[in-house]
Amino acid sequence: MDLNHSADVEAFRAEARDWLAAHVPATPLPSLETREGFAAHREWEALLHSARWAVVSWPEEYGGRGVDIEHWLVFEEEYWAAGAPGRVSQNGINLLAPTLFDHATGEQRARVLPSMASGRTIWAQAWSEPESGSDLASLTSRAVRTEGGWLLSGQKTWSSRAAFADRAFGIFRTDPDAPKPHQGLTYLMFDLRAPGVTVRPIGRLDGKPAFAELFLDEVFVPDADVIGEPGQGWRIAMSTTGNERGLTLRAPGRFLAAADRLVDLWHNLGNPADTALRDRVADAVVGARAYQLFTWANASRFAAGETIGAESSLNKVFWSRYDIALHESALDLLGPDAELADGEWAEPWIFSLAGPIYAGTNEIQRDIIAERLLGLPKGRR
């Protein structure tokens, strides 16, 4: 057992660190949940891509460096430690791309991945519907067969990045007569500017349009934009949400960097007599390290050829609770300034509050843990 990186990985780390030190904007970009910030982040994606840092784990033919998960984790550590901007492309890179690598045709990969890597096409996810959140299989928006493709109708909601994004991916009911709700669903990609699409931005708690409602009225999608076989959408989508909860959505590097900033804040503002708050800062340090090490252990399992299944639910509950606790501690350290909406910790705190809700609520994750990892009997939800 060891935690030492090879010389190759350390050289990669140094290269990333040097590039980031030279290119990370000196002043933070405006929030990516605003129109102006979205555009600025799109430019940042293009810059990252030009130096092949946008998608390091992808094959080189799609703009990546073809590196393994250990390199990727190290890159993420450097990325967040450098204070680099949040990734406006993350829905595409973390959710759609793994699905494309596993289930798409060569033509689809060649068409979709390069523009995703460069930030030219920003993707929104379109999973949830007003009556289908945790019970996603109950969704009712449909895709009806037509000449050369499908016509989408219905409503999607809480669609992250959709207020300003270019395209979206999601699952739609193609066989309403299928015997079970998770059968008869099809995974497809569509254009948010296609005729029949209405995007209504939704302000999240701080008023920024971090997601949107999508109204779809006979939106045409060509057969070329169906991923995998029609009717297999649920199975394909589940492999994607596994990625979301698992390693890729929240790299440990992000929390390590946040914990470092929290320690700095404690150093600058902390009252030595306030041991309760000091203890919470220590917990943030320990939590980031625990998450990093847990991820390294999982990465080692991957490398040894094992697969990570329901274990990804452990991750999801852990990081989402951790994220909130860390940001709450920062707000407590800031005292009266914590309330200011333009403060450095305000938007990240707002963002953290969504963690236990999205990517499958923590209640659903705990059911998965209890039933699949502990072997407890299934019960009513």
Binding site: M1, D2, E70, V285, L376, R381
Partner: protein, 327 residues
Amino acid sequence: MRFLPSEEQSDFARTLRGLLAASDVPAAVRAWGAGDHAPGKELWARFAATGLFALAADEAHEGMGLMPLELAGGFVELGRAGVPGPVVETAAAAVLLTRLGDEALAKRFLPGLAAGETPATLTLPGGGPYALDADAATHLFTVSPAGELRLAPGAGPPRTSIDPARRLALPDGGGELLAAGPAVTAAARDAADWARLLTAAQCLGTGEALLARTVEYAKQRTQFGTAIGAFQAVKHRLADTLIGLEFARPLLWAAALSLDPGEVAAAKLTAGEAAYAAAMTALQLHGAVGYTEELDLSLWLRKARPLRDAWGSPSQCRAAVLQERLR
């Protein structure tokens, strides 16, 4: 980088686990609590024969060299089985004497410690005032804040812990002066880190035992016509317990790899809290039957809290984590 136990490391823990599972540990624990050390010492002889304590002593004195990863893996199993006795203290005494490097002392004490034949207990600067199981140990070492290592002549009357199988006594003052000076202080600091690490490992095993027993109970116990494990409120408590334990394990590995004081403190904090949370969950989900001493569950339930606090309370560990970070 390969952050997983090797085959050999896993095999060693598995062997110990099998051996302990085949022993009647609960009977030995109950006897130990009643002051009868004989069954416990028989148990010791069996697990010490696997070479466990030799992992805390150098090769020149019947040890295997200091192997914290393997030792920590073994101590997870001691915790899972709930073994009684000064296991952490015996290993820590071996580390202290190995680190001290005094040939005469090493020759005198280490072979017995490495073989597990002469259990030891000890008090160290920064640790608590009580020596664990002084009445069952062959040697009682003390290290003073000034760096004097002594063989205590005896100890006060044993006081009962919340966990009856842990018997606490204040060492008598004086006794043979074995060594003194900065080398003792440095060796004692190392030994205290090992004691903290191995207690963390014991906590993890204790927590896992509590969770496993509670999961089994939740599958069997029915209320309102259904197994209580089908209720979401019950499931979620058990899921949270598993999360706590699963995130403590890699911290324990990393601490054993580096023996960095901050890492060791992080592992002890997290494993101790996870084990105690597992105990509280076990108690709640077993209901009234869990609140009885007849059920074997009580043997682990009562251990979780003292182990959480021994060799570094959560508060001390948090302070140590931040101290290392701000250094």
